[in-house]
Assembly symmetry: C2
Homo-oligomer: 356 residues x 2
């Protein structure tokens, strides 16, 4: 399957120099060399330090983390398990987490679970074998392995979607409030013929968004049965949005406003409205949750709840560190805000009259 793996080293590549090579060249013990490599300078004469440093330069020594990890029993590696790389929101979470980890001297394994329980478990076990010290679970799914890790108290942070197998540290927005804000956005514009579009099966995030939306509308006097629910299965949210919109059209009169639980679902629904010649937002206002930067460029017709994915990374890493420190982990709920993309010539703020 992997022919030629027998000779993994290019003939050119000499074996990497080890601490022993440095020590030999500098005429010191490996212990001393190790201390100097690790910046413990107080315990060696200036002359020795200089000699060792020269040797390090000369052989171009770089520490081998595998040896260090084995001995110290720590790897400084974190794994991110993520459901769907080609969703821009996921990419933003990935990028910010990667940057925050690097700033703290960690490196990141990336695992694409495709929202599949079997793959998720395969990765969890593979990562454990690699000595990973913490797990960032972005939109995880229930699985036996996850349950086992959670029960074993393995350090984990759940992002966007809560732990589907029990309690767990969480980073995300207040999804109930986000749904409620979307509801108010419609309400203040006098739009009360409403629908909501979401993927199936439901994650905690979806459920919270939808229920926050419906409960707020109920508070405003819009009875829940007036709000049409349309769901469609699938991982590819644009298709989900298209399919759900189509299902909606088949069942009922077209609404004046639609909440889509993600930007991509809104993109899919939009395409359907265009095929049906429904003017957006004039005849039907579309609101979604994500706030992708893309919206300003390609979707000026969309109003979206901005989720600060770029700030997630810092929070995720802080939370992980507090878990390692055996602190009681407290969820990190980040602020969201609703905003129009403001395309060419479109005023960009939502005006919120005070009071109902």
């Amino acid at each position: 399957m992997t022919p030629g793996r027998k000779t993994p080293s290019k003939s050119k590549a000499a074996a990497a120099p080890s601490l022993a090579d440095v020590a030999r060249l500098a005429n010191v013990s490996i212990s001393t060399a190790s201390r100097i490599v690790n910046g413990e300078l107080g315990r060696a004469s200036a002359e020795t330090v200089a000699r060792v440093r020269r040797a390090i330069e000369e052989v171009r020594y770089h520490p081998n983390h595998i040896g260090r990890s084995l001995r110290r029993r720590e790897s400084r590696i974190v794994a991110m398990l993520i459901a769907n790389l080609d969703n821009p929101a996921m990419a933003a979470i990935m990028a910010s987490t990667e940057a925050a980890l690097r700033a703290d001297g960690y490196v990141m394994f990336l695992c694409d679970t495709h929202d599949r329980a079997d793959l998720q478990d395969e990765y969890l076990y593979a990562m454990r074998s690699q000595g990973v010290e913490g797990y960032v679970m972005v939109t995880s799914v229930p699985s036996p392995g996850l349950k086992e890790f959670v029960e074993d108290g393995v350090p984990m942070v759940f992002v966007s979607r809560r732990n589907p197998c029990g309690p767990g540290a969480f980073v995300g927005i207040d999804n109930v409030a986000a749904g409620a804000d979307a509801a108010d956005h419609f309400w203040f514009q006098g739009i009360t013929e409403l629908a909501v579009l979401y993927p199936e099966p439901n994650s905690s995030a979806t459920q919270e968004r939808v229920s926050g939306f419906c409960r707020r509308l109920e508070t405003r006097g819009v009875p829940p049965e007036r709000i049409i629910h349309a769901a469609a299965p699938g991982l590819f949210h644009m298709q989900v949005g298209y399919d759900a919109a189509q299902g909606l059209a088949a069942r009922t009169r077209w609404p004046r406003g639609i909440l889509c639980v993600s930007d991509q679902i809104a993109y899919g629904a939009y395409r359907f409205t265009q095929e049906c010649k429904i003017p957006v937002p004039a005849a039907c206002a579309l609101v979604s949750i994500d706030g992708s930067p893309l919206n300003a460029w390609l979707a000026p017709w969309l109003t979206s709840v901005f989720v600060p994915y770029g700030d997630f990374g810092r929070q995720i890493v802080e939370l992980l560190i507090s878990i390692w420190g055996d602190d009681a982990p407290s969820d990190r709920i980040l602020p969201h805000r609703i905003e129009s993309s403001g395309g060419p010539g479109i005023p960009s703020r939502v005006q919120e009259p005070d009071g109902a």
Copy 2:
């Protein structure tokens, strides 16, 4: 900086069982246990094998790859260094590479270099310390570390953009041909007032696309000086496209057709055309290179050269394996094709008359 790292293990988490634990429980030597863990069953009695397996189950043993890596001097880890995670094309390359690696039993470190030479080097050294066996360089930049790695014969594959520091195995499309196809697309529609938009500084890919475009037009009889070049600096291609389009408008008459070297540049240029009330594609046809799936949903006005990023991963991994096997690495050039996104009601194929 990382408070509490002194106690990295949750009190709950018992030390992971080692091969020694298995051996003790099964009453065999560590050697024997190791062989059985590694599937070398021919050398132990069936009874011993069963006993060891029971012990493995009982202590819930999982092999520690750090120990294995140290001893075998191989890690089965590959690193991907990539310039810009929030570009959908990059995400597609990432996803397909990750999947191909997993299929072959490798895991992947992800490093976001932000197109910065210093970060690229920081990562290269960090990855080497982690014992990484191969490097996937997506849109790399020139840097001293890269030069050093290339000279040392470290296994590397360059993706999309060629090695900026000398020769190197490459996976991508034929960028010259892609540019030429875009030229023909305009030519066959009778559009010869043309401009080309690209980011600065120029990568090999950009240069090849632009020169393929211009050379083909020259062949067709359109003199090079008739083609307006507009570039803008930056990493964020949508802004680059907008800025370049703005610069174009400031300098000259608006063209009838524009080649944008990436989809995102086209999105940016599109926004500018909308602000200027220029009908697209009626008054100005936009062609780009990438072929993002998003186009069909949000950019029906765009014609794009489809690049099979989803197939890159397999090719990358095969190429890496051939390099490990000391085979002479041959570049992998994948097929592209030009296509309209085909939005609602728009016919989706480009008709290509035969002959000029």
